[in-house]
């Protein structure tokens, strides 16, 4: 099969699985998950074949796999859609295929396949457990299977379709289609347990917040199309002429060039999708969804798609970029990215819910990538995108495994505690060894543990870029964020796995099934090894022993291959210090937290801690600034004031005046004149109707004769009129 054809087919299996599960197999749980996982496996296989063929291709950046077909005609030309796998999308395809497959497999275990049906489980609520009675008459509670098992697999199938579509697309329009499909699936999956009010609120929040960004993005796409007449990546981003024209055309707004304007509009789409400040509020709430969903949508795929889009649009964002002089969109990105990275890292320090910590950490790491792109680190951003997808998916799945183990303990002991609160855990190291070791690897990769983990290499490259290009402020902010990252990661690991169990449930936690641990192990392998492909050449001791393949390969996506920054010891030492220092601090502070104790940081930090714990009151702020005013506007202002007072008042007045006029008119004009003529018209119509009734015979042929005769008569009339007027 030709590679291009194969690429066309990649998104198909998950879509078919979606339709089959929804339409035919939704009664059978085993069949449904077999279909979904099988589809993910097929797509994975295809992706790997494409990826291998891609890396074997010499000069792949100049000769990517591309094919397009005309979709719909637009005047003289036709709008082309098609597929494109260039170095950037090849590596994206690689991580998407792996993480999606792992998450599909993990979902089988996570949704308790093979467990009995719950005692009181209802669709729309998480499973509550089932009571089993063994032969000795002892009854005990065990986890029960998800009531809407098939539905879950259908939704994630559709989601995978959206993601694959986005990655293989060669133009912004089909990218946007995939983007929106994922937005829909995100909505459906966050609200998967729709009977929980919090899940419903979270799904709406996520949908509306991302929609804000999407509208701007769509405007950006439309603007780009109106300027260039195409949306194909290669024709815009790989075309010096087009980029130059866009960079020199003025948009007529704020003194921005067209390229800058489009870039900023597209970037706002990313702010929504990748949960950057100030549209970050939806992502932590999205943790209401099942954990595989959090891992897939909110770590590996959807939020990465936002970053992928801006990396893709980098040539446009940086059009007119000269060394040391950032373009406006790049400045905006550098600011928002760096700010978000630090800002959400501080919030993550004070969260107790194991998944929320990861959610804020995700926002922070995405900010890293945006900042890297903002300072011109194209390859570094792409590199961190990939390593992050692996280790963050690993961490999310690991946290799901922890929660599962805890739920098992909760069911066993019957305690009423929150299985997601890290202060209820502790000492899970011995109970859940596989989860512990893989989570540790993921955590170390996230904090950038030197040399062995992937996170170190990608983060180091971002810091090196910031230093090398002379953006000291960005460098300092990112270094601080890295310190905090290492700190909260170690806090999480220490609170969850180290020390002694703080509750009965934690004592009875149990390792999860192989369907959940196998993906953890595989992702852990990538969390370590994905970094080795991008070791800088001049790195001391080991640099150059493995070629910096990633830089050469992904750099080929751009017209001008970006140069690697010259090596410097300062960023390297900084990243060593912040990673190890943060880890050490986290361990020291949290190693002795006993049952029922408060957070050790609460006393020294005081009100700052409360501020962090409440996420800088952003939710409250948005509630006050956007939600409440909207209510107020519609209730008090629009309804009571405008509607009742002004409009109704005017109406009443109008009614009063018109009733006076009306009485007058009725007596002197209506009755004698209008009624008389009205009756005449009525009678006349009746008579005419009686006369014309024969025309409506119900006979089709007669109708057609009448139609054709009239058509002929009108044609003659028009011809006559046209030929007489000059």
């Amino acid at each position: 099969m030709s590679t291009e054809l194969l690429i066309w087919l990649l998104p198909l299996p998950p879509l078919l699985a979606f339709f089959f599960v929804i339409l035919f197999t939704n009664r059978s749980k085993a069949l449904s998950h077999t279909l979904a996982v099988g589809a993910a496996l097929l797509s994975w296989l295809g992706s790997m074949i494409v990826f291998i063929r891609a890396i074997q291709q010499p000069h792949f950046g100049e000769h990517p796999f591309e094919m397009s077909i005309p979709w719909f005609p637009t005047g003289e030309t036709a709008f082309q859609i098609g597929i494109l796998i260039d170095p950037l999308s090849a590596v994206t395809l690689f991580f998407v295929a792996w993480t999606v497959l792992m998450i599909f497999i993990y979902s089988v275990g996570y949704n308790n396949f093979g467990q009995p049906k719950g005692d009181h489980d209802l669709p729309g609520l998480p499973p509550h457990g089932a009571t089993l009675t063994d032969e000795h008459g002892h009854s005990h509670k065990v986890p029960s299977i998800e009531p809407m098992y098939a539905r879950f697999f259908a939704f994630i199938g559709l989601f995978a379709f959206g993601m694959y579509t986005l990655v293989i697309s060669n133009n912004l329009l089909t990218l946007f289609v995939g983007w929106e499909i994922m937005g829909l699936c995100s909505y459906l999956l966050i609200g998967f347990w729709y009977a929980k009010p919090s899940a419903r609120a979270a799904m709406i929040k996520a949908f509306i917040t991302t929609r804000v960004g999407d509208v701007f993005m769509l405007i950006g796409i439309a603007y780009l199309y109106s300027q260039t007449g195409t949306l194909s990546y290669r024709e815009i981003f790989y075309n010096e002429e087009v980029l130059h024209t866009l960079a020199t055309t003025s948009s007529g707004l704020l003194g921005l060039s067209a390229a800058a304007m489009i870039g900023i509009l597209l970037f706002i789409g990313t702010i929504g999708k990748s949960a950057q400040w100030p549209l970050h509020v939806w992502l932590p709430d999205a943790m209401e969804g099942p954990t595989p969903v959090s891992a897939m949508i909110h770590a590996a795929a959807m939020v990465s798609a936002g970053v992928y889009m801006v990396i893709r649009a980098y040539p446009l964002l940086s059009a007119g970029y000269e060394h040391g002089h950032l373009t406006q969109p790049m400045m905006l990105m550098a600011f928002i990215g760096a700010f978000t990275a630090l800002f959400s890292a501080t919030i993550a320090v004070a969260q107790n819910d194991i998944k929320r910590v990861l959610a804020y950490s995700t926002i922070s790491q995405l900010g890293y990538m945006i900042a890297a792109l903002g300072i011109g680190g194209f390859v570094a951003a792409a590199f961190h995108l990939i390593t992050h997808a692996f280790f963050k998916a690993l961490l999310f799945l690991g946290s799901g495994s922890v929660i599962h183990g805890m739920e098992h303990g909760v069911l066993h002991t019957g305690e009423h505690i929150d299985p997601q609160d890290m202060y209820n855990m502790g000492g899970l190291r011995k109970k859940m060894p596989v989860t512990f070791w893989t989570f540790l690897i993921g955590g170390l990769a996230l904090s950038g543990f030197p040399l062995v983990t992937a996170g170190f290499w990608s983060k180091d490259e971002i810091l090196a870029d910031a230093w090398g290009h002379g953006h000291i402020a960005v460098f300092i902010v990112l270094a601080l964020a890295a310190l905090l990252t290492a700190f909260y990661t170690m806090r999480q690991i220490t609170l969850t796995f180290l020390g002694k169990p703080r509750t009965e449930a934690a004592k009875h936690a149990q390792e999860t099934k192989w369907t959940m641990t196998l993906p953890l192990v595989i992702l852990a392998v990538f969390a370590v090894s994905a970094g080795w492909v991008g070791i800088p050449k001049e790195f001391p001791l080991i640099g150059g022993s493995i070629p910096n393949w990633f830089h050469d390969f992904v750099g080929g996506t751009l017209l001008e291959h970006p140069e690697a920054v010259t090596f410097s010891y300062i960023p390297l030492l900084t990243s060593l210090v912040v990673a190890l220092g943060g880890l050490y601090l986290g361990w020291v502070v949290y190693r002795k937290v006993s049952a029922g104790a408060k957070d050790p940081l609460q006393a020294p930090l005081g009100s700052v801690y409360t501020l962090l714990k409440n996420k800088y009151y952003f939710d409250e702020l948005y509630d006050k600034v956007f939600v409440q005013p909207a209510y107020w506007l519609s209730e008090t202002f629009a309804y009571l004031f405008i509607d009742r007072k002004i409009i109704d008042g005017i109406l009443h007045w109008v009614a009063y005046v018109s009733s006076i006029i009306g009485t007058f008119l009725r007596n002197y004009i209506d009755k004698p004149i209008i009624n008389g003529s009205g009756d005449f018209v009525g009678e006349g119509t009746k008579r005419l109707g009686r006369g014309m009734r024969f025309i409506q015979s119900g006979k089709v042929q007669q109708y057609m004769i009448v139609a054709l005769v009239s058509l002929a008569a009108f044609s003659v009339l028009f011809y006559y009129l046209l030929s007489t007027t000059p």
Partner: protein
């Protein structure tokens, strides 16, 4: 006048005559038979136009299937078909008038077009319309989607015809 032109005139006269009889004769079975002759004439035109495949398809699809289907329908509605009175309705004069107007109008519009009396360009010896047609119908850059839609349409028509004609008693 070349031989080709003579053939054309003969076949055209045959086809038009058969068509005219098909829409006027009283006996419906005869009308269907005249229709077959007219369709056959059209097939000959396809041959004259170097569209051999379409000529074969015309014979197989129209004469082999559609016309036979017509005859079946006539036989199934036998009571009506054996009606011996006139087969034209009261408006036939109007219909004839419209038919003449449409013909005159079409002929007049066409004759004012500059390419009206174009002569056929030479077909190059290497051209293979049949192969071209075959690959165009299954090529994603040409007509595969209309082709597939047509197949779905046929399926829908098949099922629809069965459902509609189903004798529920």
């Amino acid at each position: 006048m070349s031989g080709l032109q003579i053939i054309f005139i003969l076949v055209a006269a045959l086809t038009l005559g058969a068509g005219l009889l098909a829409v006027t004769v009283r006996n419906l079975v005869h009308a269907a038979l005249w229709l077959i002759l007219a369709l056959f004439g059209v097939a000959i035109f396809f041959v004259l136009l170097n569209a051999g495949f379409l000529a074969v398809a015309q014979v197989v699809v129209y004469i082999g299937a559609i016309a036979i289907l017509m005859i079946f329908a006539i036989m199934l509605t036998q009571q009506v078909a054996s009606y011996k009175g006139t087969q034209l309705n009261a408006n036939w004069i109007w219909s004839a008038f419209i038919a003449v107007v449409v013909f005159a109008g079409l002929a007049w519009i066409l004759s004012s077009w500059s390419g009206f009396s174009t002569l056929p360009p030479e077909m190059s010896a290497r051209a293979d319309p049949l192969r071209q047609l075959g690959s165009a119908l299954v090529s994603p850059t040409a007509y595969v989607i209309p082709f597939e839609v047509a197949s779905v349409l046929l399926l829908a028509a098949l099922i629809g015809a069965i459902i509609i004609a189903w004798d529920r008693k």
